[in-house]
Symmetry: D3
Subunit: 114 residues, 6 copies
Amino acid sequence: MSDIVKEFNEYRSKMNDKILNDNNKIIKRIFNLDTNAYTEGALDVKTKELLGLVASAVLRCDDCVKYHLENCHKEGFTKEQVVEALSIATLVGGTIVIPHLRRAYEFWDALQEN
Amino acid sequence: MSDIVKEFNEYRSKMNDKILNDNNKIIKRIFNLDTNAYTEGALDVKTKELLGLVASAVLRCDDCVKYHLENCHKEGFTKEQVVEALSIATLVGGTIVIPHLRRAYEFWDALQEN
Amino acid sequence: MSDIVKEFNEYRSKMNDKILNDNNKIIKRIFNLDTNAYTEGALDVKTKELLGLVASAVLRCDDCVKYHLENCHKEGFTKEQVVEALSIATLVGGTIVIPHLRRAYEFWDALQEN
Amino acid sequence: MSDIVKEFNEYRSKMNDKILNDNNKIIKRIFNLDTNAYTEGALDVKTKELLGLVASAVLRCDDCVKYHLENCHKEGFTKEQVVEALSIATLVGGTIVIPHLRRAYEFWDALQEN
Amino acid sequence: MSDIVKEFNEYRSKMNDKILNDNNKIIKRIFNLDTNAYTEGALDVKTKELLGLVASAVLRCDDCVKYHLENCHKEGFTKEQVVEALSIATLVGGTIVIPHLRRAYEFWDALQEN
Amino acid sequence: MSDIVKEFNEYRSKMNDKILNDNNKIIKRIFNLDTNAYTEGALDVKTKELLGLVASAVLRCDDCVKYHLENCHKEGFTKEQVVEALSIATLVGGTIVIPHLRRAYEFWDALQEN
């Protein structure tokens, strides 16, 4: 099962390299901001990752959800906490979030198997 | 072709079980509401399924479209009626709905082959 | 209260005239389709108006909701039926639909006062 | 300035009463879930309010943003923390979030004046 | 009529000042990118403004549409060209774009009166 | 790699045929408009294709992005120009556009290999 984690990260990493090598300044800076925005500030890193997860879930972006799930896993969130965050996303975003919830569960389980 | 129906239902069913076994109260109640909302009331079941289909189509949720297509099929809607509902979705939601329309056609044809 | 109905229709009508007088062919044809899509076909007019209402509600377009509420009112839907359709929209689209639900209630009440 | 807080709460409260008196079961349960989802669980109330704020902001729902800003204010978040959460929303959701950011700033300032 | 241009610019300018004075680094950089992205590059400024307009219109952000309409006006686009761009937005984004089209027409006319 | 271009076009073409043979008038006219909207007018074909690309990207429709990338390629846009258009889409639509940007890069590279 954990192949879905590996596959996701390999494709993501390969294509990000292509994009960054292309040297479009605006895109590079957006990528750069994407790193900076989740660093410690008035809010701690853990809270910010959870915000990124919920934002991704309500906007129904599977790849973004996977990315933040992986970071939430690294930051030491329990499954119960992550699911609670996703329950808020499902309530705010509606039942159209449910298919993404199914894929989020699958990915989280794969992360825990690693 | 009808494998896409089977595959969809198996994954959906397997992951829904995992989600519901997890016992997050909010998510369980949303799943519960999702069943109750489509039962007979001031509007009949058929009309409600069609509403669910169009809501799913304009929000461009393929899995939700498949789920409601299957219910519309069970409720005895003709292809012409389903396509008319989807034509309204395409008009309201714009040409970005068209790729989902292609997949909806494929799924409906698979349902009819079963 | 019914001023919100009048105000909505006057602005809508005034601006639609300006748009149509401008003679952009694509826009004129979209307006034309918007009339044709809701006429009797394999589905009846009433069902189609309800589909238009739910599509508008999940896409959170207040003006589109108002337009279809007015047509639903003319077609003889009861408040209970309209609210049931909107309840499906709120479930599918999530709690972000609620502010639009509030405005839909206000508009429907204004329609009934006329 | 704080009139915008009062005005928002009065309209919201008045229309919510109308909606809840209408006794549509699905809508009542969604309202009920909306209360339950933000109570203490594996995540604390403060974190959940911030998740609700960011979900509302990326989905560009001004009224939902106002509602969660008010709760964040009550929960004791500093402006710097709230703005950091909104900065993540703006990054994830793009520059189309900026007009909502302007209205969020205006509302937060009004909350602090009260 | 041209008051809607003035009003829009004054509020936008006032709130942008508040946001930028607040010194959140992520938000400041996004604002900065928003200026840089529309400067001359492999594509000219005029084309970029039109891209910004269409992106804003399909995402149904009235304030963003107004901002880009004003820039398109300054860049010397004719009404016919702007309307053609908006016709593509309406086709891609669907009839839910129409209410925003009405407000775009009103704003463009106000720009031309100035 | 160019298999992804072939595969995309074959599925698209096969399903479009099924849809058009079905003779739903509204859908046929939307398809027809989709051809007409991108022809020479007050704006030239190249500009219109770029508008279609950016509209598709901010609405996060991979298939629509692929379709317009192919047309942009035929119209002679350079990669730098296409990437600049996509950078505006990523800024306006936010980091949730990035996964679609990755797939757009992959598709463009496949187009250039053909």
